[in-house]
Symmetry: C2
Subunit: 234 residues, 2 copies
Amino acid sequence: MASLSIDVIAFDADDTLWHNEPIFTETKRKFEQLLANYHGEEWINLKLDETEVRNIQHFGYGIKGFTLSMIETAIELTEGRISGREIGEIIGFSRQMMHHPVDLLDGVRETVALLAASHKLMLITKGDLFDQEAKIARSDLGDYFSSIEIVSEKNTRVYREIMERHAIDPERFLMVGNSIKSDVLPVIEAGGSAVHIPYPSTWFHEKLDGVDLEHVDFFELEHIKQLPAFLNGR
Amino acid sequence: MASLSIDVIAFDADDTLWHNEPIFTETKRKFEQLLANYHGEEWINLKLDETEVRNIQHFGYGIKGFTLSMIETAIELTEGRISGREIGEIIGFSRQMMHHPVDLLDGVRETVALLAASHKLMLITKGDLFDQEAKIARSDLGDYFSSIEIVSEKNTRVYREIMERHAIDPERFLMVGNSIKSDVLPVIEAGGSAVHIPYPSTWFHEKLDGVDLEHVDFFELEHIKQLPAFLNGR
């Protein structure tokens, strides 16, 4: 492993600092139960995934777009027979998601506090501006980050633009996140370094099919707690 | 009128650079027609406004939140009797809103192009990140602005933070927009200057009740085309 000289460490938020995917998974279970009289679980899930993928380009990421996708799927799967009352339940699910407590991953608070003493920390997160700001506020981690970037998509152009705007040398920039697609590949492409910390379940939309990672030079850690030692070259 | 020495001109977007409120108004008309069998227009409108105000704190601004508010209102007003098919129509309305062409106000393109030659221009807009980015892209005005800030709320704290981050002296900062509440008062409070350009119809949420503007020192123009002459002291 080459030694890294890093000035700026940027963290992804959802499923890197706090649990996010389980909240969506739990809601999908409720959605399946709601439609159990109409269809089987697997078919419901497949159709919801299809609607989500189709709608991402119109709605972007986040709870509101996901809720509209659930409602649309419910109408489609019931051929319009779903009742207003049942759709009201779906809106209730979204309200529960929005008010879900922000549950930090194990070791996050200590690690972020420790690294903030030695490095400039950033938060780079994709999604709905309103949802993300609310979660950052409730996480009580905001003060550790010297800047917070909420973006609609994480690609090479966006990372380049952020580094330029903050006058960051890509060679001294490290991104830490759970998504190879959003937190690793575009950062490497932009000339930076990346640490991948896998999350037990990852949203299908963030999964990569058929990409050969053999020649991509990034790091992988099991746990965020290993980050300080990793930065010190162990 | 005191003479102004301005380095940075920041523009609001919705109903300052392009028409926005009429798209919402048109959708509200369709929503009233959809529910015409259940209630009168006025009552429908009143209830939708109530739901919007209640939901802003959970959903923020933008088309997706507005759509969820329409669906919720429809369920409430019909006591759950609205059909899935009819709710599907509401989702259709939101899709039409999202794909509505970006229709610039008269004189915007020339004025922005002219001022970009002499000043640093910014765009400061509130709302849904995804919606706003899409509109900026479709407006074809993006290149005139040296920075674009999409924020979830426009208050004094947010304007101060933007000026600090960009190292802008408030005395040399001018905000131009159609909302006294969002584009004028907080900017004055933050030490900057503001030009109010009223829009024929303004969303009720942006209207001010009982605020005495007599001692607030801002400028008012009828039309964006008057801005260059205003800046030159006429």
